[in-house]
């Protein structure tokens, strides 16, 4: 059923650190790699080596420039995938029951065997987290790597989403945001994690950690005195050498 399940205590999700993300797009590639070979229809590309390539991705990295009122602008890389919202509008609009939220862990999934490819769930999502695959004609979205996180055939360290596993800067964290004592919940608490577009009432599970405050560029370094300009007038042996060479 596409009715939302009763509130679950377990809320699996991601915490993304905008301070440490370097915008390398490794998460985008590992996501596409894992999800094109595993759960559901592959993530197709159209005209991949031609003039106008496009394709289906479940995770994309935007880059933004933020200009504070004073000081220099900051570049912030911004990975975006499904936020596994508590009040997921994409679930209730689905006419076939293909789009659903799991009661046991809150993951939002698409049952591709029931999807008619009407695209209404993608319209209902504010975040652009769902893409209709052009080749398969069914809706694709982040599964939170449901086929990795519970997969006992994988070594334990690999039982987390592919994007988290691959991130070289440790900007992505996976865990239970319903448990106030989990590492991810503590991280959100410490760093003041935020929701995207809270005004739309979707209650995203995934949180974003805002960049830490940057220095303003006006502060004087403690080593500054050692960097004072050397005397412009030379004296002694080097002074004599300088003057002599100048005359030649």
């Amino acid at each position: 059923m596409t009715a939302l399940p009763p509130k679950s205590d377990v809320k699996l999700g991601l915490v993304i650190d905008l301070d440490t993300c370097v915008g390398c797009h490794a998460c985008v590639i590992s996501c596409k790699g894992w999800n094109t070979e595993n759960y559901g229809a592959p993530l197709s590309d159209q005209d991949a080596y031609g003039e106008n390539p496009s394709g289906t991705f479940l995770n994309r990295v935007h880059s933004y420039e933020v200009q504070p009122e004073q000081g220099t602008a900051q570049t912030i890389h911004f990975p975006k995938s499904c936020l596994h919202c508590e009040d997921a509008p994409c679930v209730t609009v689905c006419p076939t029951g293909a789009s659903y939220k799991r009661a046991e862990d809150g993951i939002v999934l698409v049952n591709e065997d029931a999807c008619i490819g009407c695209g209404l769930c993608a319209w209902a999502c504010p975040y652009g987290a769902r893409e209709l695959d052009k080749a398969a004609g069914v809706m694709k979205k982040c599964t939170l790597c449901v086929d990795r996180i519970y997969n006992e055939n994988l070594p334990e360290e690999d039982r987390e989403p592919a994007c988290v596993r691959t991130c070289p800067s440790g900007a992505r964290h996976f865990g239970d945001l319903g448990d106030a004592n989990s590492d991810v919940s503590k991280l959100v608490q410490e760093r003041g994690g935020i929701d995207l577009m809270p005004e739309l009432g979707t209650k995203p599970v995934n949180k974003y950690l805002p960049p830490r405050p940057k220095d303003t560029g006006n502060e004087i370094d403690i080593l500054a005195p050692l960097l004072a300009p050397i005397a412009t007038e030379t004296s002694g042996f080097l002074g004599w050498l300088d003057r002599t060479l100048e005359r030649i």
């Binding site: 059923m1 596409t2 009715a3 985008v28 106008n52 289906t56 991705f57 994309r60 990295v61 935007h62 880059s63 933004y64 420039e65 933020v66 200009q67 504070p68 009122e69 602008a73 900051q74 570049t75 912030i76 911004f78 975006k80 509008p89 209730t92 609009v93 689905c94 006419p95 076939t96 029951g97 293909a98 065997d113 029931a114 999807c115 008619i116 490819g117 009407c118 695209g119 993608a122 319209w123 999502c125 504010p126 975040y127 652009g128 893409e131 209709l132 695959d133 052009k134 398969a136 004609g137 069914v138 809706m139 929701d195 995207l196 577009m197 005004e199 739309l200 009432g201 805002p210 960049p211």
Partner: protein, 292 residues
């Protein structure tokens, strides 16, 4: 939003078809026999033809039957259920009118309500979306239902009702346009709320996530339509409302004036519906720096 021709065709034609069925169901006009056959044939051609064209919009139509299952939560599913119920009930009523020359009044009234209900459920598919502020308003269902009701009145020869109805349609359309223009801004979603970076300062897109296009941009970040929006609004209003009202006022009956009224109205509704999609801005465009 991308103005998909199949969806525009569907919503305009089936709206008109269900509007006709709504009037035929309450015995206006009280046709029987061959003339009933012609009226019902046109109404079914429009409504069923529209529904079929909508299936061309689907990526994976083989699972369509499942779309009747989620009526408790989904307006799209409710639309499917309502449409099938309306077409079935009105089919039985039409058989009575055509072959037995009788009007089963109660059945017809139920069919009428279901027909208008179908148009209402269609409109709610759009009106429910908080992500498209321009649609997320009571004027959306009102306009869809009014267009269907009074378009149906014109098609079934209820010209006086149609004339006053079109004036109402014109006013509703005007209110819908005027109140929707700044609704996106008023709802308050910005690139700052979308990224949560507003505390630091003003955000602008530095680099998109990919060099090419994607499904989201094609489907929800359609920006071509707005260039000529004002001109198209005037054209839509003239064709949809002004010309048909003038034709009826000049005494349109079974003549060329009636044909002009119908064709003009139809083309006008197409223009209005095209604008309904082309002008609608989805909040996801914020992430691509395409809004505001």
């Amino acid at each position: 939003m991308h103005p998909a021709p199949s969806v525009i065709l569907f919503s305009v034609l089936s709206g008109l078809g269900f509007g006709m069925l709504a009037w035929l169901g309450i015995g206006k006009p009280p046709v029987t026999g061959m003339s009933a056959f012609i009226f019902f044939f046109v109404a079914y051609a429009l409504s069923v033809g529209g529904l079929l064209s909508a299936t061309f919009h689907l990526g994976n139509p083989k699972n369509s039957l499942k779309a009747f299952s989620q009526w408790q939560t989904s307006w799209l599913s409710r639309e499917g259920c309502c449409a099938i119920a309306a077409l079935t009930v009105m089919g039985i009523y039409a058989a009575g009118a055509i072959f037995l020359e009788t009007h089963w009044a109660l059945l017809g009234a139920i069919g009428s309500i279901l027909s208008i209900g179908t148009v209402f459920t269609t409109s709610m598919i759009y009106a429910q979306l908080k992500t498209v502020p321009r649609w997320n308003h009571w004027t959306t269902p009102l306009l869809f239902v009014a267009l269907s009701t009074f378009g149906g009145a014109l098609m079934t020869g209820q010209v006086t009702v149609a004339m006053y109805g079109f004036v109402a349609v014109g006013l509703i359309q005007l209110v819908a346009w005027l109140t929707s223009d700044n609704r996106f801004t008023k709802r308050g979603s910005t690139l700052e709320t979308a990224t949560g970076l507003g505390n630091i300062g003003k955000v602008r897109m530095f680099e998109p996530p990919h060099t090419g296009t994607n499904y989201l941009l094609k489907e929800m970040v359609y920006v071509i339509g707005r260039k000529h929006a004002v001109k198209l609004r005037v054209i839509a209003m003239l064709l949809m409302v002004v010309i048909p009202v003038l034709m009826i006022a000049m005494g349109a009956g079974h003549d060329i004036k009636a044909v002009i009224a119908v064709l003009s109205h139809l083309v006008g509704v197409f223009a209005s519906r095209w604008l309904f999609f082309a002008e609608a801005e989805h909040v996801v465009g914020l992430y691509y720096g395409k809004r505001g």
